[in-house]
């Protein structure tokens, strides 16, 4: 019991959990479909043409 009382979750773990939460929201909002649409076309700006 003492172990659980004294141990504090490390900051990186909070960061990971926040990341998973935000990723979930992003997936639900369809943000990765937006990224995919951009990524599968040749990005004219990226190659210095657009």
């Amino acid at each position: 019991m003492g172990f659980w009382k004294n141990s504090k979750p490390p900051a990186w773990l909070w960061g990971v959990l926040t990341g998973i939460l935000f990723l979930g929201i992003g997936i639900l909002q369809g943000q990765f479909a937006v990224i995919w649409k951009k990524a599968v076309m040749i990005c004219m700006e990226c190659i210095g043409i657009g």
């Binding site: 960061g15 990971v16 990341g19 943000q31 995919w36 951009k38 040749i42 700006e45 043409i49």
Partner: protein, 286 residues
């Protein structure tokens, strides 16, 4: 450690840019893997790229109509940053590998930093705020949204995306003009500078390094320092390619976890994972 890091960098670069068909035909991969991002800077218009670039993806979200918080990419940065911090820069970034290799060329007297480093190091935060965030929303397109960092600066896009595509695709080659020459100039300047100065793009311009640097203070992968065992010889600072003192190593946003300090430490007091320290026995013997 040096050989291991080089092997990881090479394998990761080949794996994430392994779409050989693209190089041969001047086309890019269009599969489902591009829903995901690689951790390092890796242009998604590289003919070999099998996944998306995190900075390009962030700008794609910021470029949408209206404004909404880019939760997907914030989540990605929190996840990767909290686990690895700038370990990504040191071990997993293809453009970092290119700069590392160029810095090995035995010409010029090598420098770790540019003059005015204390000011120039903030350049990456300026690039992040001005070109990735603000620029993506309205600044450079006359209120039209453009991926300003990719368009005006990104040397990784020019090297891994533009050059192979223009070589293999004649119709694209005929469209290249002043903007391409501008980006080619930036690329050549940075590549030449890399021969003399250690990773100038990572130290002074990379917005991804600015993001991951923020996570360095608490990421899972850290360079641990056993203070009690330290003999204060300064070997780690001399070996550090970005001249960090032992107090700054790991938590500093500049530390890319290259591991050179660990190799140099005679008391073996710096390490990635917690374990008993060899310095203990050294001191007892002394």
């Amino acid at each position: 450690m040096k050989k291991l890091r080089l092997a990881v960098q090479l394998i990761f670069t080949i794996l994430t840019n392994g779409y050989a068909y693209g190089y041969l035909n001047g086309k890019i991969y269009r599969g489902r893997l591009k829903y995901a991002c690689v951790p390092g800077l890796n242009c998604y218009s590289c003919p070999g790229a099998v996944a998306s670039c995190p900075i390009g993806a962030l700008q794609a979200l910021l470029n949408r109509q209206g404004f909404s918080i880019p939760f997907g990419m914030l989540g990605f940065f929190f996840l990767v940053g909290s686990l690895l911090g700038r370990f990504v820069c040191g071990w997993l970034c293809p453009f970092g590998l290119v700069q590392d290799l160029l810095h090995k060329i035995p010409v010029f007297r090598k420098r770790k930093r540019l003059p005015l480093h204390h000011i120039l190091k903030f350049g990456k935060y300026v690039a992040l705020l001005l070109f990735v965030c603000v620029g993506s929303v309205f600044l450079f397109g006359g209120f039209a949204k453009v991926p300003a960092f990719c368009k005006y600066i990104c040397p990784s896009g020019t090297l891994f995306g533009a050059i192979p595509l223009l070589v293999a695709n004649e119709s694209l080659r005929s469209q290249a003009g002043g903007l391409f020459l501008w980006k080619l100039g930036i690329l050549l300047l940075l590549l030449l500078l890399s021969v003399k100065v250690y990773r100038p793009f990572c130290q002074y311009l990379c917005p991804l390094g600015a993001i991951y640097g923020w996570f360095n203070r608490f990421s899972l992968v850290q360079v641990h320092w056993e203070k009690q065992q330290c003999i204060s010889c300064g070997a780690c600072e001399r070996a550090c390619p970005v001249s960090l003192s032992v107090h700054e190593i790991s938590r500093s946003p500049e530390c890319i976890r290259c591991g050179k300090c660990m190799e140099a430490c005679p008391a073996d007091c710096l390490y990635f994972f917690r374990r008993s320290c060899k310095g203990d026995s050294l001191k007892r013997e002394g």
